[in-house]
Symmetry: C2
Subunit: 212 residues, 2 copies
DNA sequence: GAGATTATGGCAGCCGCTGACACTCGACAA
DNA sequence: TTGTCGAGTGTCAGCGGCTGCCATAATCTC
């Protein structure tokens, strides 16, 4: 039962453990006393390192709060890139996001309990500073997804259609995510169905007239 | 030639002038030495007030950098709300944004020179912290636009179609805005045409298959 | 094991931001 | 005009996020 850890040096293993300890301690403290109510010194002390060391692992307090989000984003991007080239763009996005959800759940659990993460997610939506940083990252993810769609379809970078499609897709995912945070439970299956249902509304939403 | 100023008290006029002086000084300093290279103390000193007073006018350094953006956002929202109820949703958004552009140009010029604002706009795109705050505000604008569209169409808040439409629209506007910043000139007419052309791509972008 | 490399801690300091308090000056009535 | 009231301002002290610098301690390489 040799994992990757046993093959790497002691140094890297220690770094990895320190990093994960910081993420876990941070999320626990955030859950207890809120984001602004928690100082970096407290997080560092809880993980038993100096404040200076904290800033060697994370660019800032925001960064540690969004650490898990970053993982999720890279999972989604990878899943889209893995879709067969024959699929139409929207189908690829939809399939990727629906399929990779289980993997994401596991990836989260390997760092923090799912329930704790849900609390963090809600905190991100409610804290202006964190929401801003989160949206900026999502914009970056949109850029990458746009590039990937354009590549799949063999389109030049000037073609606006990939960007528009990704924007609509991303808007739907933001909305779905918001509702997931409200639910507070980790009901993955129900969430997947809701995601699919919302994505099916993209076509109708752009119809000329909804009243007919 | 009595303007609004002459009808309000001296006190309010002074406040207004101080606020605008802070915005103008801030933008000039940002243009000269960048966002991070400019301290709040410098801005306050340039506007001849204390640092403490600066923070009575603006919630933070971000806030003064995005002051003009906020004006633009409220213009757009107002323009959408003013569209006749008979127009289909996307038409209303498109018409509003195309039509209100001149008014926005004038509103900007009344506070800072247009050329200086263009520099500020580029700075926002390039400075992570500012971009994040900007995107958060755009998300709020999306919320308001979504509500307005749902209201116009008489739809319940759960219907995802307004949100999706606004997301696609907003994605297009972000992209157009990005290119406007790159151009660096204040060519409003060309910009309006480009906006219209991009918005016309929303339909095609959602087609099942682009290759046909 | 010696030396090179890398992670860590402690310190000093800048900057964004806030609360508390005193002061100035415009607003408004007597 | 004058006196009072309150809004706007400046000053000061202080917290918390964040960084550069240097010394120390841990790991890696040979």
């Amino acid at each position: 039962m040799h994992t990757i850890e046993s093959t790497t040096g002691l140094r890297e293993r220690k770094k990895r453990r320190t990093r994960e300890a910081l993420v876990r301690c941070a999320q626990e403290l955030f859950a207890l006393q809120g984001y602004e109510g928690t100082t970096v010194d407290e997080i560092a002390a809880a993980a038993d390192v100096s404040q200076r060391t904290f800033f060697r692992y994370f660019a800032g307090k925001e960064d540690v709060a969004l650490a898990v989000q970053r993982m999720i984003e890279s999972h989604i991007l990878a899943a889209v890139c893995a879709r067969p080239a024959a699929e139409p763009p929207l189908t690829a996005l939809r399939s990727a996001v629906v399929e990779c959800w289980d993997g994401i759940g596991e990836a989260i659990e390997s760092v923090v309990p799912l329930e704790l993460y849900v609390r963090t997610y809600r905190m991100i939506q409610e804290t202006p500073q964190l929401l801003a940083a989160h949206l900026r990252r999502l914009a970056e993810l949109e850029d990458r997804l746009t590039d990937e769609i354009a590549r799949r379809e063999g389109l030049p970078a000037e073609d606006p259609r990939p960007r528009i499609l990704v924007a609509a897709f991303s808007g739907v995912m933001r909305e779905v995510g918001k509702r997931w945070g409200d639910l507070l439970d980790g009901d993955m299956e129900g969430f997947r169905q809701r995601t699919a249902a919302y994505l099916d509304q993209i076509g109708p939403a752009l119809a000329e007239n909804w009243r007919s």
